[in-house]
Amino acid sequence: MVANTDNDTIVAISTPIGEGGISIIRISGDDAIKVAKKIYHGKDLAKVHTNTINYGHIIDPDTNEEVDEVMVSVMRAPHTYTCEDVVEINCHGGLLATNRILQLVLSYGARMAEPGEFTKRAFLNGRLDLSQSEAVMDLIRAKTDKSMKVALNQLDGNLSHLIRHLRKDILDVLAQVEVNIDYPEYDAVEEMTTKMLKEKAIDIRQRIESLLKTAKQGKVLREGLATAIIGRPNVGKSSLLNSLLHEDKAIVTNVAGTTRDVIEEYVNVDGVPLKLIDTAGIRDTNDTVEKIGVDRSKKALNAADLVLLLIDNSAPLTDEDRELLAATKDKQRIVILNKTDLPDKVDRNELKQLVGQDHLIETSIVNNEGMSQLGQTISHMFFDQGIENSQNNVMVTNARHIGLLHQADDALGDVLKGIKDGMPVDLVQIDMTRCWDLLGEITGDSYQDELLDQLFSQFCLGK
């Protein structure tokens, strides 16, 4: 929308991520207070005065679990930055807590703000006075010309080429449908049937989805591949952790957390950044073997993109091992049979059966044996299998592009659903056109009223 009076509720983390002791999650829009209220225990936010700050807790309404202790500011329209209702949640600055709260806000009715969207709303809602608005106009002017250029520069030549190619293919389909409609009696064009449309839609969808896979890859490169090291007590988790961390190439970033946060550490293994989850838990295991173990490992599993599951070669498989093997069956995993320096006690046949097609590596971490194989395996999984179909090394990294590709993907989903439901071709085509428009917004080739949103992506997120 050009003038966004469509006050749907948006949210973003408005403090730099991972730095500072406190994070602020800002929510703006008609439902800001309603959304916050759903996940907040404390005073009734609907009744508190405007411009007040309130102590309470964020809870997950599904589990009633307490997520964090927070201060919540409530500012009512119109005297706020965006001229809309604004709620700011001040929480402990740990990445996990902040993200968890953000996720909750998102799942209770807000959507992720686009870059610069708060400022954009302030601007469009006429919050800025004459001189200010003139300044912003200049800014927009500068940003516009620049952002178009930047957007185009940012677009890897290959990406825009791919998108234009996709659009051309879609346009061919659309044109054929349109000709059939507007010139039904003319025999020059083959009748475009939903069957043909289906083939095209599937083809285009596959191409979009493989682009989206690269987006995931790009995210991993930026944020690290969430990796859990799991295994029953005393299999060598902390040895593995130390081995990974003590290598020269380790990037040691100790993300500060509260007591409730889980420590994360970053390492670079053969070019793949790993974000090791719950390293505190691993370290704890040395002291309190009984308390920690399978339960904690399972928890770490949920957040992991990659699982390193350790098995003790010097002892027969236990039920705990089997349970962890079963629990990680659907995950990307590497099973590490450790302590090969000690006598083999594991039934290899059973283990191989349980590991199936997944990677199985043998190590003696204390002797530094098998570590390079582990590194290679991770790298291989990530770069060769992970980026399958990497389409000329195109990688989508821009959040706006990713969002548009997701929407285009959804539109194609609707196309296929329509075909399945037996809808006539001209209705199915409505969603195909939408897909075309969305892709055009990536390359700036289609003029859409929503295109304004792109221009503001030059503003920094959250303000």
């Binding site: 050009v2 003038a3 009076t5 469009l124 608005s133 106009m137 940003k143 009223d449 221009l455």
Partner: protein
């Protein structure tokens, strides 16, 4: 020198012709609708035409409707216009196109008896109270201080009015071209209007030069029909007008078939060999022609690899054996035209009755218009139809109706009437014209409408009749009839939402399985069940009780469409809703774009030229970018 003496001309002495509320200049499809609308709204109206024989004449295709255009006819009818009635009374064949596609693009098309169509419209105009039909050529507008106050005819009459509508079509400085032959002429060798164009230029209007054309006509007695394919009309009943009873529908045997044949490589070679004599390519024709209905020489040059093109043979009427060769539009020399015709299968011996021709004419560049079709330059002056750069009878009639309504409203001192893009194809067309302009004769296509599924021909009555009623063009009785239909549709939909089909109904499950679907697990409402592709309303009635009263086919059609396509309809409605917020942001009429800081130069120039009325309209102007819109949006809020 004697002959020159004999042809010497002189001007008439002027006299006062009288006072009117509205004067309409030109009585083609636009002018007829404009004049009837103004008169029916209670305005004393004068309709001036160059020739009474040209009232609602069809100088080109003897047909009305088709994709997008057929929907316009229904829209005109719903608003209280005449085209739907007129064609329902004078068609020789009726066909529904796109029946295999969705409801949004189904299109009704009629072959017209063009002479009957003209006579019927002329009669309707003659009988219309408040309306005077006169033959004369308007040479000049009476304009004082930028306000149009009347017209002056070649016969010297000075007619005064509160509003004037110009619908002069291809008569505006019209020139016919056939090969090397060129002469001043309106359509079908009628008189062209030269002085009016000069007057408009003098008033400061930017006129453009467009071109259109028509194919040759042949004597049907000399066509070998057995060499061609028959294209009969539909047996199923269709009408354009809401008011036409089904009992009036002609049986297939009472309809006249069209026939289909093709050009061939021989035809194409013939044309290629004579391209140097084609005015289209020799540089003689300067006007811009439509891509949408190209001449045969254009088709052969642009699509060189095609070895045949369709030619539809269409009857011009019941009381004539003249046939129209749809697909052979040409401005080649008559001699070549004859050979082209004879090269086509079935037309080997066809006698040419009239040659095809190209016609160049003046167009008022439509950026000079408000969405009401009033000119920005001269107040109380409206233009419509080909004058605004469109092609097609339906496009002309749709604009004529809007121009007539607005001229009538102005004369009555009432607020103007504008259809939005989400209201009607007519709204799409006018918005396109005044916002984007057109570089070639503009034809409506369904793809021009972004809310195509909402702008269906089957719901034109629901969309527009209330508006027509408010304007005074739809009688209370007719309006009540539409409301009753609407209520029946709503009641039946509500009923189907409460009626359920149960999993233990073996007949239902047998039926479902016959169509390869899984039997019901839970009860479903009839409203959900009808969404399945193999279920229609009549099938549904096998499994649930029928309604209390029998429903007519129009009601059933609505129930089916509204339920079957509910998901898509809702999506489009949401799109409209989003755009509405911008449609509602009006830009002040007196805005000085030089005072708006930050606009890009191109954006500023375009905004100044088009002077959009709403932010939404501004956003549709090419060259105005989103940043300009954002800046404008803040500026107008100040």
């Amino acid at each position: 020198m004697k002959s020159a003496e004999a042809l010497k001309t002189s001007d008439a002495v002027q006299y006062e012709g009288g006072d009117y509320d509205v004067i309409v200049v030109g009585a083609g499809h636009a002018g007829s609708e404009a004049a009837l609308a103004a008169a029916r709204m209670g305005n004393k109206t004068l309709l001036v035409t160059i020739s009474l024989e040209m009232v609602a004449f069809m100088p080109c295709n003897p047909s009305v409707g088709g994709p997008a255009k057929g929907i316009v006819v229904r829209e005109i009818d719903a608003l209280g216009g005449e085209m739907g009635h007129n064609i329902d009374k004078t068609y020789v064949q009726m066909r529904m196109l796109n029946t295999g596609k969705g409801p949004a693009v189904r299109a009704l098309r009629a072959q017209a008896d063009k002479h009957a169509y003209h006579r019927q419209m002329k009669l309707t105009i003659e009988k219309q109270p408040n309306l005077t039909l006169r033959q004369a050529t308007v040479d000049q507008l009476i304009v004082e201080d930028g306000v149009c106050k009347g017209v002056i005819t070649n016969t010297g009459a000075r007619y005064h009015a509160k509003a004037v509508v110009l619908t002069v079509g291809t008569a505006a400085r019209g020139k016919i071209i056939i090969g090397e032959l060129q002469y001043q002429s309106g359509p079908n060798n009628s008189k062209s209007a030269v002085k009016l164009s000069e007057n408009l230029e003098k008033l400061g209007f930017d006129l453009e030069r467009f071109k259109t054309g028509t194919p040759p006509r042949v004597n049907g007695n000399t066509i070998h029909y057995d060499e061609t394919e028959e294209q009969p009309g539909d047996q199923e009943v269709h009408h354009f007008s809401f008011d036409t009873p089904d009992s009036h529908y002609l049986s297939v045997s009472d309809q006249i078939s069209c026939w289909l044949t093709y050009t061939n490589p021989g035809t194409h070679n013939l044309i290629r060999a004579n391209l140097d004599r084609a005015p289209m390519f020799s540089g003689v024709i300067k006007g811009v022609g439509p891509r949408y209905c190209p001449s045969i020489e254009d088709k052969i040059v642009r699509f060189a690899d095609k070895d045949r093109h369709q030619v539809f043979l269409e009857p011009e009427g019941r009381d004539t054996d003249e046939w129209y060769l749809d697909g052979l539009s040409t401005s080649m020399p008559e001699e070549i035209q004859q050979k082209i015709v004879h090269s086509v299968k079935g037309l080997e011996d066809a006698e040419l009755m009239r040659p095809g021709y190209a016609i160049e004419y003046d167009v008022v560049a439509p950026y000079q218009l408000h969405p009401t079709l009033e000119t920005k330059l001269v107040k109380n002056l409206y233009t419509a139809g080909q004058t605004n750069g469109t092609s097609g009878y339906e496009e002309a009639a749709g604009q004529g109706l809007i121009a007539g309504i607005n001229a009538g409203l102005r004369a009555l001192g009432k607020k103007p009437f504008v259809l939005k893009r989400s209201d009607a194809y007519i709204g799409v067309m006018i918005d396109d014209l005044v916002t984007k302009g057109t570089k070639e004769p503009y034809r409506l296509l369904t793809s021009r409408a972004e809310y195509r599924l909402l702008l269906r021909h089957d719901n034109a009555d629901f969309r527009l009749m209330a508006k027509g009623h408010a304007i005074g063009l739809v009688s209370d009785e007719r309006y009540a009839k539409m409301e009753a239909k609407k209520q029946q549709v709503e009641a039946e939909i509500a009923r189907l939402k409460s009626e359920k089909l149960k999993p233990n109904d073996q007949a239902v499950n047998n039926f479902i399985q016959q169509h390869g679907d899984n039997p019901l697990k839970d009860a479903v409402t009839a409203a959900d069940f009808i969404k399945r592709p193999y279920v229609d309303y009549q099938t549904l009635l096998k499994f649930i009780p029928g309604p209390n009263q029998d429903l007519d086919r129009h009601v059933i059609e609505q129930v089916e469409i509204q339920l079957k396509y509910a998901g898509y309809i809702k999506k489009e409605e949401q799109k409209v809703e989003r755009m509405k917020r911008m449609e509602n942001k009006r830009i002040p009429a007196n805005i000085d774009y030089d005072q708006v800081d930050g606009l890009a130069t191109e954006g500023r120039q375009k905004l100044e030229k088009i002077r959009p009325e709403t932010l939404a309209q501004a956003s549709r102007i090419s060259g105005v970018n989103p940043a300009d819109i954002a800046i404008l949006s803040v500026y107008i809020r100040k």
